[in-house]
């Protein structure tokens, strides 16, 4: 197995500009811009998504940097109130809909699902490309909203602030998210049909990698929850444009109706972000441990349970909204229930490591980081589900810390872990493993320094969405901003060494990690049609130890 060590100048001649595998791969199958922009190859579409979401991440991260810099002083060091309000709105809108939701599913799901099930492409390749174009159209509207001065309603668009009172490009932003929603729905349809209808002979549901299971559950949420968001945003836009009055109490409307409709989508949406991440970790842990995943069926069914129960808990965002006490109690109970399947996964990953043979490589370090940070985020979620605690910490930095632990500490860390695990497969190159480990540690430390203080800030009463604050909170804010700098560095590093590996990295073999899974049986990078002959699956999933380098599954 080739392993890239520290960069050694004398070896530069040995790493060719283009390896034989690359020459015959999907990367070289047409080199014009047109061949990329009109591709129907799921692997190329994954790369299209990869580049565009990286761009969106950079924009939203810049907004976050400005916010954290502003919060260095109690009076607000950098931005006016208006500027800050627009920054946190843009940060939320872009991160949620233009980075997190598409990240793992549209990059790694698109690339890997056909490979993992033994298919040559997705069920609807042209629909897949259309999804990307629709996504980009939504992105264009977002950029337009940004350029024309921004939006200042928060990514949650609460009425009647957004429907009647806010100035700014609210309708542009609503349209952007509306359009992006269609991309989500079409992706979900493609995933569901592909997983049902394109599995290779012998690839029963019980032999599917957990990555596929979690993406199936995610696709169910994409298809069933997103339309509710679509209708909700349509109603807010209609209210703004035509003065309908649905959310305006002065005209007899009900602002709380918006919250119910919005959160009915937006709570399942967080599972759209987290389930794929859990799927990634379910691949990374057995691969690192060279051991079968503990409790396969418990982990598989827990994904479906999370998707289902996730639809029943939206009211926990509304405990102090004026919602009935009794409804709040029911939502609180169900929110505790939904934690159970997530806990099952964490225990199973831990048990997988027992008596394994664990390689402490970069991908695994990211997986460990995920588990630690996700556990922290999930347990603070339980705190928020407890009614009496939530009354105190709702709309404070406690909540901000909680969801960043899940979405950044969880989903983004898993995204990076996936990047480090499947990079050799996608691009045929090994990256510098040492830098990979450094990134994983830097991200973990930087993340904790940024967000742990925010739990304390929140419990001590610091509300969220404040551009200035009482002076006693300054120390923790400064600490948080410092951590953000470290975290930013941790994110910037992979950009450098991963891109560097494209030209200078060791060529990757088909199965550098000696992992199970059909994607490791094809060359790195794969040819356009994935498999020469349709694979026939006879082995159980995660059937370690492998007898040789490249396994026939």
């Amino acid at each position: 197995m080739s392993r890239a060590g520290l960069h050694d100048a004398s070896r530069e001649e040995a790493a060719p500009l283009r390896t034989p595998a690359e020459a015959q791969s999907y990367l070289n199958d047409g080199n014009s811009l047109r061949s990329w922009l009109l591709t129907t190859d799921h692997k190329r579409i994954a790369i299209l998504y990869l580049t565009s979401i990286t761009g969106f991440f950079a924009i939203a991260a810049t907004a976050a940097a400005m916010m954290r810099l502003n919060l260095l002083t109690p009076q607000g060091a950098l931005l006016t109130a208006e500027g800050y309000n627009r920054a946190f709105t843009m940060h939320g809108v872009i991160m949620v809909w233009f980075f997190l939701i598409p990240s793992i599913p549209n990059v790694f799901g698109n690339f890997l699902i056909p490979l993992m099930i033994g298919a040559r492409d997705m069920a609807f390749p042209r629909l897949n490309l259309a999804s990307w174009y629709i996504f980009m159209a939504g992105g264009l509207f977002t950029l337009a909203a940004l350029i024309f001065g921004g939006v200042d309603t928060g990514w949650t668009f609460y009425t009647p602030l957004s429907s009647t009172y806010a100035n700014g490009n609210v309708v542009l932003a609503l349209t952007a998210v509306f359009i992006a929603g269609w991309s989500s729905i079409l992706t979900g349809i493609n995933f569901i049909v592909t997983i049902h209808k394109l599995r290779a002979p012998g690839m029963t549901w019980g032999r599917l990698p957990l990555f596929v299971w979690t993406h199936y559950a995610t696709a169910l949420i994409l298809v069933l929850a997103t339309p509710v968001l679509t209708v909700t945003l349509l109603l807010v836009a209609a209210e703004r444009l035509f003065g309908l009055g649905i959310f305006n109490p002065a005209l007899g409307g009900d602002p709380l109706l918006f919250q119910h409709l919005f959160w009915f989508y937006s709570h399942p949406a967080v599972y759209i972000m987290v389930l794929p991440a859990m799927g990634v970790v379910s691949e990374l842990v057995p691969a690192a441990a060279h051991k079968k995943l503990f409790g396969y069926w418990f982990v598989a069914y827990s994904s479906l349970a999370i998707a289902l129960v996730g639809f029943l808990v939206w009211g926990h965002h509304m405990f102090v909204s004026g919602q009935s006490m009794y409804a709040s109690t029911v939502f609180s109970f169900l929110s505790l229930v939904v934690a159970v399947p997530s806990a099952i996964k964490v225990y199973n990953w831990t048990a997988t490591l027992y008596k394994g043979s664990i390689a402490l490589n970069a991908a695994f370090l990211f997986a460990m980081g995920f588990i630690g940070l996700f556990v922290m985020g999930g347990l603070t979620g339980l705190m928020l589900a407890l009614l009496a605690i939530d009354v105190h910490v709702h709309d404070t930095y406690f909540v901000v810390a909680h969801f960043h632990y899940i979405m950044v500490g969880g989903a983004v860390t898993a995204y990076l872990g996936a990047m480090h695990f499947w990079w050799p497969k996608m691009f045929g190159r090994m990256y510098n493993e040492v830098w990979g480990r450094i990134s994983a540690v830097l991200v973990f430390i930087g993340f904790n320094v940024t967000f742990f203080p925010q739990f304390l800030l929140g419990y001590m009463g610091m509300p969220r969405r404040y551009h200035e604050y009482p002076p006693e909170f300054q120390t923790l804010h400064v600490l948080s901003t410092g951590g953000a700098g470290l975290l930013g560095l941790g994110y910037a590093l992979p950009l450098i060494y991963l891109l560097y590996s494209l030209r200078h990295g060791e060529p990757a073999s088909a199965n550098p990690w000696k992992a199970t899974g059909l994607e490791w049986t094809v060359p790195s990078p794969p040819p356009t049609h994935n498999f020469e002959d349709t694979p026939i699956v006879v082995r159980e999933p995660y059937d370690y130890p492998l007898s040789h380098d490249s396994s026939i599954a």
Binding site: D121, P125, H196, K197, P227, L244, G245, L251
Partner: protein, 206 residues
């Protein structure tokens, strides 16, 4: 959806199954789209029954009933058309789908005339020579009415285009497959089912 097999499928029967499943999943998402609106309307009806009923009474029941008959008939014709295609009787299928499309257009025309009437009677929120709802609850009802029937009408328009497109292509050398016609039929039936929910809630709550 042609009769030809395409990548990544290695088996045309599989491809047909996938096309069918894709349409069914899409229709599930459409059901959630309209489901959210229906739930909103039902909530309004529960919490403000009197204004809701009062507003419902002011809708044009005749137009709504005729439209219901129009859509149900068109759905029947589409079902016949799909069956005809399955039996390779493409001329019959063309006629069935074509007439169904025309009925869809009739639906839209009747709906447009209703909207115009409501505009003139002060029932269109935010528009018209004057606003005459009678109560905020009735205004909410009309909000829901226009959004729900407007979204539905948009779906009817898309359906008409698909039916007309299929009718056209059935007369040529590369007609849509049986599953293709059935999928368009499924879409049209969903549009019909949505109306079957909207009509009683909006027109018959009096």
């Amino acid at each position: 959806m042609t009769t030809l097999r395409h990548e990544p499928f290695l088996d045309i029967a599989r491809q047909r199954e996938a096309d069918r499943l894709g349409m069914v999943v899409f229709l599930a998402s459409e059901a959630m789209l309209f489901g959210a609106l229906v739930m909103g309307l039902l909530a309004l009806r529960t919490f403000q029954p009197a204004p809701f009923a009062a507003a419902s009474e002011r809708l044009n029941l005749l137009a709504g009933s005729v439209n219901t008959a129009v859509l149900l008939t068109s759905s029947l014709l589409v079902a016949i058309g799909a069956e005809a295609r399955a039996l390779n009787r493409n001329r019959l299928a063309t006629w069935m789908l074509g007439i169904a499309a025309l009925l869809g257009i009739a639906f839209l025309i009747i709906k447009g005339r209703e909207y115009y009437q409501e505009y003139g009677e002060g029932l269109m929120p935010g528009a018209g020579p004057y606003q005459d709802f009678g109560s905020p609850g009735a205004r909410m009802f009309m909000d829901g009415y226009f959004v729900a029937t407007g979204l539905h009408a948009f779906h009817v328009l898309v359906g008409v285009a698909m039916l007309a497109g299929c009718a056209w292509r059935l007369r040529r050398s590369d007609p849509p497959s049986k599953v293709g016609i059935e999928n368009v039929g499924l879409y049209w039936h969903l549009v019909d089912v949505v109306w079957v929910f909207l009509f009683p809630i909006l027109y018959l709550s009096r």
